[in-house]
Point group: C2
Chain length 329, copies 2
Amino acid sequence: MPTRADVAKLAGVSESTVSYVLSGKRPISEATKKRVQAAIDQAGYKSNYAAAALAGGAPRMVTMMISNLFTTPSSRINGALVDGIVDGVREAGFHSVIWPVSNDDDADVNLLIKSNFSGGVILMNVKENDQRVHLLNRERVPFVVLGRTDVGFKYNYVDRDFENVDRIALSKLKELGHTQIGVLVSDTPIPQHLMTEASQLKMKLKAIDIPNSEAGGEELASIFKKEYRSITGIVSLLDAATIGFVNSAKEFGLSIPKDLSIIGVNMLESQAESTHPTISTVTFDAYEMAKSCGKMMVESIEAGKNNKKKRTELWVGDFVDRGSATHIQ
Amino acid sequence: MPTRADVAKLAGVSESTVSYVLSGKRPISEATKKRVQAAIDQAGYKSNYAAAALAGGAPRMVTMMISNLFTTPSSRINGALVDGIVDGVREAGFHSVIWPVSNDDDADVNLLIKSNFSGGVILMNVKENDQRVHLLNRERVPFVVLGRTDVGFKYNYVDRDFENVDRIALSKLKELGHTQIGVLVSDTPIPQHLMTEASQLKMKLKAIDIPNSEAGGEELASIFKKEYRSITGIVSLLDAATIGFVNSAKEFGLSIPKDLSIIGVNMLESQAESTHPTISTVTFDAYEMAKSCGKMMVESIEAGKNNKKKRTELWVGDFVDRGSATHIQ
DNA sequence: CTGTTAGCGCTTTCAG
DNA sequence: CTGAAAGCGCTAACAG
């Protein structure tokens, strides 16, 4: 295995010069850059991760910990998350790997932490009061949680910003001229922040409490014109019921989106898509979310070096217009 | 972060002594062993992966490369493979991680190889004439393929040993007294090695060529007594057809396993299980297979250090008796 | 813009 | 049974 010394000799420069053309951390003349690059190719040189990690301080590697990766069928959203993290981390100049946690005991986790070849850990699929959060925190390993769980102390995470999503949905409807809004819920009141937001926007919300099933949606459709005559916009927190509603709307003389604008909120991307291809949603871009999670992880690792502590919470939603939210007619 | 030097000071021994109690590579008195262990605990010492890798030569880490991990639904067999590799590798004193390959271009693979933090690569889900095999071979990275693909040169792999599986199936039937054997195939002749093996065991094989569907199996059941009166044992290469056959056998006056012994072969473990809970099979223990793959990987890495080359091919099947292969009556 | 040099923390001879 | 010391290949001051 050729080392940076071999390359240096070949190129007729010093060892550090080789390092610097590789890292770009200091200006190098084009001429030497070329010579070094040629020498690298000729020697078939490959940088040694271990040596770099040793010399550079923390290892430039982040580890994704996904529990139950192989017992639950992987969903599309998981793929987007992994891809997002990989890209975010890579853009920050780190690598990322998945650490297989076959079972739920601590052995694997401990091994990862002990071996300490990883600069930080991204925790996914966190459970309620997840023990791994406690462990990571105790062992002072830099980590970021993709999601949230209540563990009794603060930590870095990236999660969906539900309130902002609601805000986007309502302002979108407002913008389209709707003020009388029905909120599809199931056995729960309208979330407080939705209420607050609505009053700021001078919109009227009316809870429409139905079972979250296709049947529930159909039934709503059957009575909608009678019961909710004044309502022109819908914010739906339900998936299955929305399918039922949309599918049977026409049958009951309700034309969507002509008579009614619908925006689904707080559904997972996959739910939203499977719900109905024509329902507009405020959804989450899982890939982008994961990407910022990756970036945050790296930042957090680098902050740790300088003993700077940072705590970040983050995320917003995106409006996806599929044609069911339209201007009031 | 405490280092081995801190521990040494605390325990009042030399640095190398600490290393040796950790690695167990030379005899240490119980007394100092205890003192060192106490110092390690007290200091909260953790070994540094990067430093160990640097000093020790090749990094003690193997990487699993699984393509399309997140676009295909993960199956149970994949989980078994990953778990097996992890355990096999761990028993050999190495760690293992999954390298996420989101797309099929070479960028991810190159990155892995360049960063060279991994002592070896286990390739899974290989495609025909897989380019990654060429790449790994060219870059002289130690690697093992879990599966097989034709690339025009030899490499280390672990795969199912189909011939041995057939051998096991036939000898099992022979042992039970069966000599007139039907072979369930679909649009293919009986494999050559099955024929060879049968003639050595002085058994008679008869191809039973049917569609591999439940309907195909049912139809076979309906005519079996008439058409294949002399046959007492079945070797099945088909999954769906076997289900259909077994399920409708009784209806056509065929009692399994009383009248007929059935052994499924060359099915994946998952297929075999889903085929029928009472069909005996010669199947593959995916976990064990993967485990030996992990061990082989580590051996291959360590052989590389001493410039010993080894080429290994491996696997056998296991007979799983679920009661449908019984003594001739 | 480039070279010299002191480590990073560990493994492994070599010398007791 | 234990110590001392020489690196592994790289990064990052420090010194031009």
